[in-house]
Symmetry: C2
Amino acid sequence: MSTVLTMTAPSDTYRARRRKLAATLTRPMVLMAGRAMPRQYQTNTIPFRAGSNYLYFGGPPIEGGVLLVEPGSDGDAGCTFFRTPAHFEDTVWVGAVPDDEALSLVSGIASNRFAKPGELGDRLSGRAATVVSTPCPVTKLWSDELGLQAPSDDDMLAIINLRLYKDEHELVAMRRAADAGVAAHLAAMSAVGPGKHESAVAAALYAELIAHRCAGSFSAIVTVHGEVLHPSGFVNELAAGHLLLCDSGAEETGGYASDITRTVPVSGSFTPVQRQLYDCVHRAQRECVAACVPGRRYRDIHDLAAFIVCEGLVEAGLLRGSATELLERRAHTLFFAHGVGHLIGLDVHDCEDFGDLAGYTVGRERRPHFGDKFLRLDRDLEPGMAVTIEPGIYLVPEIWSEASLVTPFADCVNRDAVDALLEGQFGGIRLEDTVVVRDASAGGPENLTGALPIDADEVAAIVRG
Amino acid sequence: MSTVLTMTAPSDTYRARRRKLAATLTRPMVLMAGRAMPRQYQTNTIPFRAGSNYLYFGGPPIEGGVLLVEPGSDGDAGCTFFRTPAHFEDTVWVGAVPDDEALSLVSGIASNRFAKPGELGDRLSGRAATVVSTPCPVTKLWSDELGLQAPSDDDMLAIINLRLYKDEHELVAMRRAADAGVAAHLAAMSAVGPGKHESAVAAALYAELIAHRCAGSFSAIVTVHGEVLHPSGFVNELAAGHLLLCDSGAEETGGYASDITRTVPVSGSFTPVQRQLYDCVHRAQRECVAACVPGRRYRDIHDLAAFIVCEGLVEAGLLRGSATELLERRAHTLFFAHGVGHLIGLDVHDCEDFGDLAGYTVGRERRPHFGDKFLRLDRDLEPGMAVTIEPGIYLVPEIWSEASLVTPFADCVNRDAVDALLEGQFGGIRLEDTVVVRDASAGGPENLTGALPIDADEVAAIVRG
């Protein structure tokens, strides 16, 4: 049995991507697959996942694989692929590694351009080179030994400016990840009920991901404490009256991610205030998805969500005043403290290892204040970009205990109503889909995960079974 | 909502362990919890799992936690616990961190002995100190900055000599991990059938682990290519005639592991030769479990398994000659190339981060030859040790293509019979349980995972449903 090579695009696509990258380089660039990451000790590893940049430029998904791209190369002759030829004993333990012919076929690099990892130093022969790796401790050590340098902003932007725009091969993969994510959420919703535990819902969710041969694109959130934005563990019992928040995505075999959030009433029916705030978040989500059109500034979509949240909070009697003024004062940050979404692709927060160079157009910076500063994306949208849209409303006890945040809004907050929801363990509501930006002529925004029910009545009916 | 502190033992047990450790130390020892490990990029992490040594000595399971144990200390006053007080914004993202009172209660370190991580350097004030950490890149960097040294063999042996013997608190946790692992295997067996995929079986297995609030103690193996000892992915379709090998364990919330393997016929019934070899592996497994008694050298248990495998291979017409002589020539390594088991506890290969210092009594070394050298454990068993027993028989194409291995046995191998099995994709059979060594007066070996059916007729009946 040999390792299966799952690649997203045909080899000429990878050659073209490497050619475009090479045209921008001034120094050789080393792209590393990394090795399986350790869990609690070195030899107990989690399933291997090659580095996204390495994968994007056509590196086959094998441990320790390395691409060397020479400046100005044509994507084939100017590239070297380094792999460790399989040792007999390794094949007994992990199965046969694909042979050079197979590796050449999928990567688009002629096998006479293959070398052993030990030869990388010779190939560079003292030239300054950059490395784009993974957090894998082994490859990090190796990069340090070879004196490889961190990529410059220009190097990173050259990669980002390719990865930002998903081609048809990538979209096929992302639809596959979306479909698996939708199936997992449906299974999760169906497993919800009073007296069950978060762990039972998470079990149903992960079973569906695994059955689709997907990994989680991140560690799933399944919680009745939706007010905690990124909790871990599935320890709580579900009780009638609770809202259960599930935030989970799939990573398909080529590495592409989906990201979805749904929030459902444990009992199968919303209380009036839950329903009111749910419908508000749903409207914000719908309108923001529709706003994912070329030319729209993503930060404005965030503020659109914030505006609708302000409107909803006024209607629900939690805030007082005009939504326009409340938005201007950023009053929504008390209830909606995170950003409305992020880039998505080979990483669930796409290219986030390059920091805000990916999410923020050069010259733009994060707004400084609590809530606003958590927005991960502020680019003008263009066709082919893939983003999430995930507005929410939360009652976070820690926020309402923080006088520096709350006092400035004393005049416009109905604190009694807030306290009533805090006491009732309202938790939080978040609704999220994965969306591709397209021209109107191509049909407008493509909601990859739109097949998953989101309407309040529909999700409640699924919970009731 | 605050993070739940799940600790295995009462605080006085942790104090006693630290006191015993401190009595052996000549320099301060730093034990690090580590941080959540990254998956493919730095901020996409897998669920946090604190370092086993840190946990063993009473470190609460919070990211970035550090224990400093001073030589000769009493386990409390001579110990410092370093934790980062929660910042308001962190609590919004990940929930409230337990307060000092809670941390003190579970760790048995008075809260006036707590400090911030930044103070670790001051506390050491230039003294040479050792660090026992995890592979976490962040803590590694920090250790390097502080100039902390790798533990000496004596330091490691001091830890190993405590961790080798499981106390009642640990056994309670291991039984919990065993029960979850048994449930997961039962669910997996019930999901087996022709036309299904390995992924569907893995889904059933992981769902049960998650529903029990367990993680996998390692990445599960679910494969019809059982001849590959550690394959990844669940890509194959199950067909009648195949054997499906599942090797998977649970890690309960305190960090303790189980490890179980079962092999079942996809169709629900064994072919005659499958049945014959299954019964041989089963007999080896049963006899080796029974041999887990104080005073028995583990390597001899390995050789007991090898002897029974030789007998079975002769009976099945694959080898010719006397089992005693075949064993002496190590002919079984062609079919049973791995070791019969390993230590287990807080790590599924317990203490393996200390290398063979844990598995091999000082003065003993691995035997040099293929197969034999893969044995991870060669100690004389003592009460409280926990080990796995996992003999197997495999038809590995790579082995039978390797003339240097096969030629020496040309006289005693029935190559036609071997080739027939290779052509029929026999795969492999492995049967494994998790066993605690006890005195005869305490009832002899405790098979923690013995509740899971293993008899050929029984497992086939479960598959048939």
